[in-house]
């Protein structure tokens, strides 16, 4: 049964949601800077990255991002169990994405590509900073799942934790897609 929230509580929630939105918008400046750095230091050169691995990485990230989004949809409909399993799916595909990026690092190294090759250094630096963000947002995603289990599940009226985690993770997924396009194609 839906619990009626007071006006004050609704205002508080609106403030927290907007503040979180500003945080994500602010974080996007990081992404813009990274893209600018890519073109300033390496021009539009595409490095000797494995196109297949890049596509697979992006596929993992897409699955992860959509799973997280659908976890939110599930809790909006009151389905706690589906939310938990989709959060888990999103988290583990996120781990696979990070692993795939690390695999690309290893492949570049094994191919004997010099670290100081402009296209290689932008790959290492851009994806490295992205992974740092992915670790933080991945922890938040994991925490929302763990918290849900511990407090006995979220409800239709009380699922901000899942919202925040999935928004953050979606931002991370979109960040990867932007980096994928600028690193692998343009």
């Amino acid at each position: 049964m839906a619990i009626q929230k007071t006006r004050g509580e609704m205002e508080d929630m609106r403030a927290i949601r907007t503040g979180f939105g500003i945080f994500l918008a602010s974080l996007s400046v990081m992404l813009v800077t990274l893209v600018a750095a890519r073109y300033l230091t390496a021009g539009s050169t595409v490095g000797p990255y494995s196109q297949w691995l890049g596509a697979i990485t992006t596929l993992f990230m897409l699955i992860s991002g959509f799973a997280a989004r659908s976890a939110r949809t599930a809790i909006v409909r009151g389905n706690n169990q589906a939310m938990q399993s989709r959060l888990g799916l999103g988290f583990w595909f996120g781990v696979l994405t990070v692993a795939a990026v690390l695999l690309q690092w290893i492949l570049l190294n094994n191919q004997g590509v010099p670290v100081t090759l402009p296209a290689a250094e932008v790959y290492y630096v851009l994806t490295g900073i992205w992974m740092l963000l992915a670790v933080v947002s991945g922890f938040v995603l994991y925490a929302s799942k763990a918290r849900g289990r511990r407090i006995g599940g979220y409800t239709v009226d009380n699922h901000w934790d899942v919202d925040a985690a999935t928004y953050f993770w979606t931002w991370t997924a979109m960040g990867w897609i932007v980096l994928y396009i600028v690193l692998y194609f343009i």
Partner: protein, 625 residues
């Protein structure tokens, strides 16, 4: 996510077992040490060879991150943020009295005081470094700094601490956190826990920068310039990391305050009635939200560039790339520092002139347009590296930005005009700040102008210009604000004689010091040098003497303010008869600021006969309705 838990805690604090816990600061130090050792050991294990040292360059960086996480967990992040995120109860805040200042707090007033203490302490450290620099410059030959690198490192530490901790943090993090919720009639801020953890990034950043030379000197100044940084010691990495921590702290302040101002304003507090200082903090918050992630990313890039020996920002890569990224942030940073000061003038002046604020909308628009133009002027710092065709737009916008700055200035002058001013210490300091800022602004026009800029670049003229702007404008306004709000912080007041004595002392010493910088610059004194042509020694000598007086003057004011805060005479609730909301509650304010939320029915800056009272409390509003 953990944020909502703080709201829940307020209504029903869970009963936690009464266990004795190690004082948070000691626990934080212990956790930081453990974090450092563990992460450093991990780097050794991942890249093991019998010859590898236990503490490598990579290990020092990884260890720093481990220490940072350990410090934040130990100070209270573990039980107040991480555990609630994972579904455990928040034990609530058990520390009371002075102990609450030594842990993670969720009260914006405690956080404000923590920021003020950290920025004041850092002001002392940076000031002592400046004294050492001035001592060196008394002689044309090396004295206490035997190597140029040591002197340059001192310049860098002074500049970094002053810009990223004192100038950015004192008014924004300190006064902003303490006063903004009070001034908008809010009981607390929106992201109070995040704010509580953010303040503890400041000591991490300050100590990282201050002790960075132990890992090797860095010579780049507060800008961390590449490719110069590439030839510096490992200490350079700790500059990047320290500034990263400091900027992260300010970013959290900005996110918290901008959301609080948007959503927590009390009934009737429309945008048209918003206090000037709150407008100043709002514009600064927006600037911070835009530009701080940019510089943080740049520092992460530079850190990796140096640590992994890449070529991103050296002669083989894009040698000017770092400078471009840096100044994109660097000039808005100047306005992040100065805008709260401009706002503070117009907060204080109507109170002491008992005159309505002149052209209030223009004063607000001035702050907003300064914010908007600040991102379009950055390249004037790089005129020596640019084509002439690129200089014109940046020179144009740099000179244009004096127009919105002038709005705020003229609103202040219009209010003072023909008034019967009460020349108290805060008012006197505001006038001094206005004078200093005027000198800074007028000399800024020369620096904005291409032919003059190319001549004056890298001389003491430029150093004089920005010290008049930052110290003369911001620090004097900060002092004015401290004297003005002292009765609010403590319920006590200062001694008017000693207040004025201290103000006049620093004003005279400040001008004696920094007016000389212009003359030194015009005579050919370069920045970034510890040894200089002999003919400049007499002038440098007397400049240093004035600088020592200035240092002593700040000390006198600090001692006076601390004495007044703790032992000063008690004072009535609203000694200035000011109208803004922070004065409509007790001093010092209670935990949730207002027993009954005030309702605003008119602007705060209307004085004179028949001026409407701006505030009624909620209960009265209810009966009147």
């Amino acid at each position: 996510m953990a944020q909502r838990a703080s709201v829940e805690v307020k209504t029903s604090t869970p009963v936690a077992p009464d266990r004795r816990m190690m004082p948070p600061v000691l626990r934080a130090l212990l956790f930081a040490a453990i974090g450092f050792v563990v992460l450093d050991a991990l780097t050794v294990l991942l890249d093991y060879s019998p010859q590898s040292p236990y503490l490598s360059q990579t290990g020092a960086v990884a260890g720093w991150f481990g220490a940072l996480v350990g410090w934040l967990l130990g100070i209270g992040g573990y039980e107040h943020i991480i555990k609630p995120m994972l579904g455990f109860d928040d034990p609530g805040y058990k520390q009371v009295g002075w102990r609450r200042f030594f842990q993670l707090a969720d009260d914006h007033k405690v956080i404000g005081v923590q920021y003020l203490v950290f920025s004041t302490g850092t002001f002392l450290i940076a000031g002592l470094v400046a004294m050492a620099m001035r001592f060196q410059l008394m002689s044309w030959q090396p004295t206490i700094f035997q190597y140029p690198q040591s002197y340059l490192n001192a310049v860098g530490i002074h500049g970094t601490l002053m810009m990223f901790t004192v100038a950015t943090v004192a008014m924004f993090g300190g006064l902003g956190n303490y006063m903004v919720p009070l001034m908008i009639g809010a009981k607390e801020t929106v992201f109070s826990k995040a704010s509580g953890i953010g303040v503890w990034l400041v000591p991490v950043g300050v100590l990282t920068v201050a002790f960075s030379p132990l890992l090797g000197a860095w010579t780049t100044g507060w800008r961390g310039y590449e490719p110069l940084a590439a030839s510096d010691g490992v200490g350079m990495l700790y500059y990047y990391l320290g500034v990263f921590a400091l900027t992260l702290s300010s970013l959290i302040v900005a996110l918290n305050l901008v959301t609080t101002i948007l959503f927590k304003r009390t009934k009737g507090l429309t945008w048209n009635r918003l206090p000037l200082f709150v407008w100043g903090i709002l514009t600064v918050s927006l600037l911070t939200v835009i530009w701080f992630p940019e510089i943080q990313t740049t520092f992460l890039l530079a850190l990796t560039d140096k640590m992994a020996m890449l070529n991103m920002f050296n002669g083989l890569g894009h040698a000017l790339g770092f400078s471009e990224f840096f100044w994109l942030f660097g000039h808005p940073e100047v306005y992040i520092v100065v805008v709260p000061a401009l706002a503070m003038w117009n907060e204080i002046i109507p109170v002491f002139t008992r005159k309505s604020l002149f052209a209030r909308p223009m004063a607000v628009l001035g702050l907003v347009f300064v914010m908007m133009l600040s991102g379009m002027v950055w390249a004037h710092h790089m005129f020596t590296n640019m084509r002439y065709s690129e200089m014109l737009p940046f020179s144009f916008f740099t000179e244009m930005i004096s127009i919105p700055t002038g709005f705020a200035y003229l609103a202040a002058i219009g209010t003072i005009w023909n008034s019967r001013m009460r020349l108290t210490t805060p008012m006197l300091l505001v006038l001094m700040s206005m004078f200093n800022f005027l000198i800074g602004g007028l000399t800024g026009l020369f620096v904005a102008d291409v032919p003059a800029n190319l001549q004056l670049h890298n001389t003491f003229f430029v150093v004089g210009h920005f010290h008049f702007t930052i110290i003369g404008g911001m620090v004097f306004s900060w002092m004015a604000a401290m004297y003005y709000w002292l009765p609010k912080f403590s319920g006590r007041t200062y001694n008017e004689f000693w207040g004025k004595f201290g103000a006049i002392w620093v004003f005279v010493a400040f001008n004696a010091t920094f007016l000389n910088f212009f003359i030194l610059g015009l005579h050919g004194m370069n920045r970034w040098v510890s040894a200089y042509p002999k003919y400049l020694q007499p002038e440098n000598f007397w400049t240093s003497i004035a600088a020592f007086f200035l240092g002593a003057g700040f000390g006198i004011n600090l001692i006076h303010i601390v004495w007044a805060w703790v032992k000063g005479p008690k004072v009535q609730e609203n000694p200035w008869q000011a109208k803004t909301l922070e004065w409509q509650t007790s001093s010092p304010p209670p935990r949730y600021n207002f027993e009954e939320l005030p309702v605003v029915v008119a602007g705060f800056y209307n004085y004179g006969e028949g001026a409407p009272e701006p505030v009624i409390v909620a209960k009265q509003a209810g009966t009147q309705a």
